[in-house]
């Protein structure tokens, strides 16, 4: 033992004259810039997807309804409520939040005598830290808990596709589909928005589990046309997909296609466990073999009804076959979906025009109920001077002729009036035909709407241009110039705005800013109208029409003439998935109607 060891501990005394190291009032100490303190939520950007609730291992988060926040497309209307009796401030909820609305402030002291106060809805229940900038936010950059970038869908290059009508989107491989499916957070925001309320997160999960038969079963619960929808659906689901708030929305449509593509049609019956339905002896007539008619027939057949579809054209599918071009939706895929429906005993009478060949009355007396999904097939005209010339066509007429395999008129210089998807379809179809006929493309599409508000999908515009069509939006047509009975071109004037303040269609033009598109053929693609001539006056009297002339139906698509149900484009949409949803709902309505009657 050294003397030093006895003396040296006394050096501790020097601290007596030093400042104490303890903080006297820890209450006023500020948390660090990144401190994980109390929750904040930007209630406007939160969409109530519940992903925060999902990840929380403490079940500290509950999504609850909040006064003043409405449920709408892309917003469940719920907001997270946090229970500080459970929370461990891991901030995984913040990191996973799909909208980045959730964060933690750096506040960490909260005194209250009411224990329930510590269960609160951040952003709704006002707190002292609501405006505190400091605190935990999702780390940036390149820090994500799930993929925010879409797996690229392989496509044919423009030069490989611009002469033919072969399908140019080639479909996901297994690995690609699984990688894309992995991004889903299973919030179900998409399901709520999908008109058919498809079990989207569920079938995406089936892809992850590589159980594509289960995937197919889920698809058919709400949609008997998955090959078709997997290709051309307007995918309202993707518009609201919560991943879209900070990245690319899920490729929901392509994933649906992947499931349908991977299941061979021979196995459908076995997978879907169909074919054991007992006929219930009731008969339903369906007018039109578009998506609404097919969907109604499918769900009715599953319930045991004897269904007959009457179709005025030689093949089934309605606008899906006679409108949508083959390069987007190949006929064999339409056939795959429709043949399966027919295999359940649904009959189709082709080339029968209800109203002329058979009257609606006859159907009424021969069947227990009638569903009509006759669509919008009458082209609408701009009615500008010259629009009655023989070289002015409706887009839908031309598209139908193409599908029927007929040769249509294709001139060297064509102008298409319209900025929607139908306009893009005819533009791209004509571009292909021109390319074949003349070895070059000279088709221009022009619309009232400027490029940023054009109704066509962005990718349609981009792809049209890749195929060398010209898209020149923002012009209002004024007249078609005709010389010696030949079209010379289209006069247009600058369109300044399309809608007024209240959102009503009321275009404003700059008459001085004009332009002339040279052309020898013009196609109008500004919308379609319904043709319900087949509904006789007596039945018409029973049906209610709204002030704008549209047919009024109840939630089951039942009209005032109780035996007559109407759905599809005439009522809602216009798109395939609304038709499918309508047909399904109408099938349920028809079943109710017939059972109550009998």
């Amino acid at each position: 033992m050294k003397l030093k060891d006895i003396l040296s501990p006394f050096t501790a005394w020097k601290h007596v004259v030093k400042e104490p190291v303890t903080i006297k009032d820890p209450q006023s100490r500020e948390g660090a810039e990144r401190y994980r303190g109390f929750h904040k939520n930007d209630i406007e950007s939160c969409i109530g997807c519940g992903t925060c609730e999902d990840i929380c291992q403490n079940e500290a988060i509950d999504l609850v309804p909040v006064d003043g926040i409405e449920t709408k497309d892309g917003d469940s209307g719920l907001r997270p409520m946090i229970d500080y009796g459970r929370c461990c401030w891991c901030a995984l909820c913040v990191d996973v939040c799909t909208t980045n609305s959730l964060s933690l402030s750096n506040h960490f002291t909260w005194v209250d005598e009411d224990p329930d106060a510590f269960r609160f809805i951040p952003g709704v229940d006002k707190k002292a830290w609501d405006n505190e900038e400091k605190g935990w936010k999702k780390p940036e950059p390149n820090y994500e808990l799930y993929g925010t970038e879409r797996v690229h869908m392989p496509e044919l290059h423009a030069e490989d596709r611009d002469k033919s009508f072969i399908e140019f989107v080639t479909g996901y491989s297994k690995q690609q589909a699984e990688e894309e499916a992995d991004r889903c957070v299973e919030c179900g925001i998409c399901t709520a928005t999908c008109p058919a309320h498809m079990g989207i997160p569920e079938y995406i999960k089936a892809i992850r589990n590589d159980d594509l038969e289960e995937g197919l079963r889920i698809l058919y619960e709400t949609n008997p046309l998955p090959e078709i929808c997997g290709r051309i659906c307007t995918h309202k689901c993707e518009d609201v997909c919560s991943i879209g708030h900070k990245g690319d929305p899920l490729s929901i449509r392509w994933l649906k296609r992947y499931i349908a593509d991977q299941n061979p049609s021979e196995k459908y019956k076995e997978i879907l466990n169909a074919g054991n339905v007992e006929n219930n002896g009731k008969k339903v007539a369906i007018i039109g073999s578009g998506p609404s008619g097919l969907s109604a027939a499918y769900y009715l057949a599953l319930t045991g009804y004897d269904c007959t579809i009457y179709e005025k054209l030689p093949e089934a599918g309605g606008m899906m076959r006679y409108g949508i071009p083959e390069y987007r939706l190949p006929y064999d895929q339409i056939d795959k979906d429709i043949n399966y429906i027919l295999s359940l005993g649904v009959k189709i009478e082709y080339n029968v025009n209800i109203g002329t060949d058979i009257t609606l009355d006859k159907l009424k007396s021969d069947y227990d109920a009638v569903f009509a999904g006759t669509g919008l097939h009458l082209g609408r005209s701009t009615r500008i001077p010259g629009s009655d010339h023989k070289d002015v066509f409706f887009a839908t007429d031309l598209l139908r002729e193409i599908s029927l395999g007929k040769e249509i008129q294709v001139s060297e210089k064509i102008v298409v009036i319209g900025g929607g998807n139908v306009a893009m379809d005819i533009t791209r179809s004509l571009a292909r035909l021109q390319n074949n006929k003349f070895g070059k493309v000279d088709v221009t599409a022009t619309s009232l709407e400027s490029e940023d508000i054009m109704p066509a999908d962005r990718e349609e515009v981009v792809e049209s241009r890749e195929e060398k069509a010209i898209i020149d939006p923002g012009w209002g047509p004024t007249s078609i110039e005709i010389e010696n009975d030949k079209i010379k071109g289209l006069h247009v004037q600058k369109c300044l705005s399309v809608f007024d303040e209240s959102g009503r269609f009321s275009p404003k033009f700059d008459e001085k800013d004009t332009k002339f598109f040279e052309a020898d053929m013009i196609v109008e693609s500004i919308g379609q109208g319904m043709d319900i001539e087949y509904i006789n006056p007596e039945t018409r009297d029973q049906i209610e029409f709204d002030p704008r002339g549209r047919i009024v139906v109840d939630e089951y698509f039942q009209t005032g003439a109780k035996w007559l149900f109407i759905g599809g484009d005439i009522i809602q949409g216009p798109d395939v998935i609304h038709g499918i949803a309508n047909g399904h709902k109408a099938a349920i309505g028809i079943d109710k109607f017939i059972n109550q009657d009998g």
Partner: protein, 396 residues
């Protein structure tokens, strides 16, 4: 009191004879023995566990350890949690050193999933593991000196530890449970000015370590109570699975950082700290030097780490991450020795089995029960702290 400080005379004439196997027969009805419970609530215990001591006079004749007071069922709980949901749980397995749990859990998952984390994340993980070591030793040093009656070191060390926790708060958003090493990487880059503030903290610690050297290590009382006491025979090291400073103080250079270099340790310049005498004093000294080594390593890390870089690798969606089927063992050197996670995945979204190897398991049970025999009751606490054990990691 008077002479005792410098001279302890032993009178063992009253003590029972040992049997041939070295054990003694304890007959409680002889009234010579007393049963004494140290713990489960006791300042001399490093957490909640109990030592059931049988003493004769003031000497321990027999000890049985009792654990179970802290059992939270973490391992079982994890089998019912998705992997990402285990992440906020694992740090809670060992309160004073959450980061080793985070690291072992994440790296086991990454290994099974075949994920390589970015360079930057590796450096930051190495940094927090050393910061964690630093604050853990600071907590220990207060306990060690406190167990031998000196309160002052604990006061200083707690202050110093708080400074490190301040840095943790800046970097990770939390003081105790950092939840920073997420599977795939880490959750943040260094905040602005962090290195400077850390350097300031390191200098403060170094300054106080000088004082601690004088007041604790060059202290007649501490030496008297720690030199030659609590001897660990090097032959026991492998037999009992002794690791960390407990092994190194016995001259066995076991250090996972050196033996199986992980993260960026291969790029750092250091040697495993070893001692010779294998008593309480030597173990304390090895830890003191290891603490200073951590300071050095943190400086090396700052000098060598890149300025920029990604903090997280691309991983599957954490909400349904299916870790590929397989099993692995991932380890790291914590202040108490080898920390490890044995992870089994059956290819689902939930771990099939996770087993945590906390070094305290061997140190605080089998080893302690062996070493404690013939220890003075007053030295039991000091002996236990000298093994640096944490009951929470014994019972997961």
């Amino acid at each position: 009191m008077k002479n005792k400080l410098f001279k302890i005379t032993e009178d063992r004439s009253q003590f029972p004879e040992k049997n041939a196997d070295g054990k003694i027969d304890i007959d409680l009805s002889s009234h010579k023995y007393l049963k004494l419970w140290q713990g489960p609530q006791h300042p001399g215990i490093t957490g909640n566990m109990a030592l059931e001591l049988t003493v004769l006079g003031d000497e321990v004749m027999h000890c049985e350890t009792h654990v179970g007071y802290l059992h939270r069922g973490f391992e079982k709980l994890m089998e019912r949690r998705k992997y990402i949901q285990c992440f906020p749980i694992v740090c809670r397995v060992a309160v004073p050193e959450p980061d080793f749990n985070e690291y072992c859990f994440a790296s086991a998952m990454e290994e099974l999933a075949g994920i390589e984390i970015p360079e930057m994340a590796k450096w930051l993980r190495t940094l927090v593991l050393e910061m964690s070591r630093l604050q853990s030793y600071l907590m220990w040093i207060g306990g060690q000196s406190g167990a031998f009656g000196s309160g002052i070191i604990g006061q200083w060390a707690n202050y110093l530890r708080d400074l490190v926790l301040d840095r943790f708060e800046e970097l990770t958003g939390g003081r105790i449970y950092h939840m920073y090493q997420l599977p795939g990487g880490v959750r943040g880059l260094l905040p602005d000015g962090f290195k400077e503030r850390m350097e300031e903290t390191l200098q403060t610690i170094e300054k106080f370590m000088g004082d601690i050297d004088k007041v604790m290590f060059n202290n007649a009382v501490f030496k008297k109570r720690s030199v030659g006491i609590g001897y660990i025979d090097p032959a026991w090291i492998n037999k009992f699975g002794i690791t960390g400073p407990n092994a190194r103080a016995a001259g066995v250079a076991k250090d996972v950082r050196k033996d199986y270099p992980y993260l960026k340790y291969a790029d750092l310049d250091f040697d495993a700290i070893v001692g010779k005498d294998s008593d309480i004093y030597t173990r304390a000294d090895v830890r003191r030097k290891d603490l200073l080594l951590s300071i050095d390593l943190i400086r090396q890390i700052f000098a060598k780490m890149p300025e920029k870089g990604d903090i997280k690798a691309k991983t599957p969606n954490v909400l349904h991450w299916k870790v590929p089927k397989g099993e692995t063992y991932s380890r790291a050197e914590c202040t108490r020795g080898e920390y490890g996670y044995y992870m089994v995945s059956d290819g689902t979204e939930y771990p099939r089995r996770i087993n945590v190897r906390g070094p305290s398991y061997t140190h605080a049970i089998a080893l302690l029960e062996k070493m404690i025999i013939n220890t003075n009751i007053a030295d039991v606490a000091g002996l236990m702290v000298s093994l640096h054990t944490y009951p929470p990691e014994i019972e997961r």
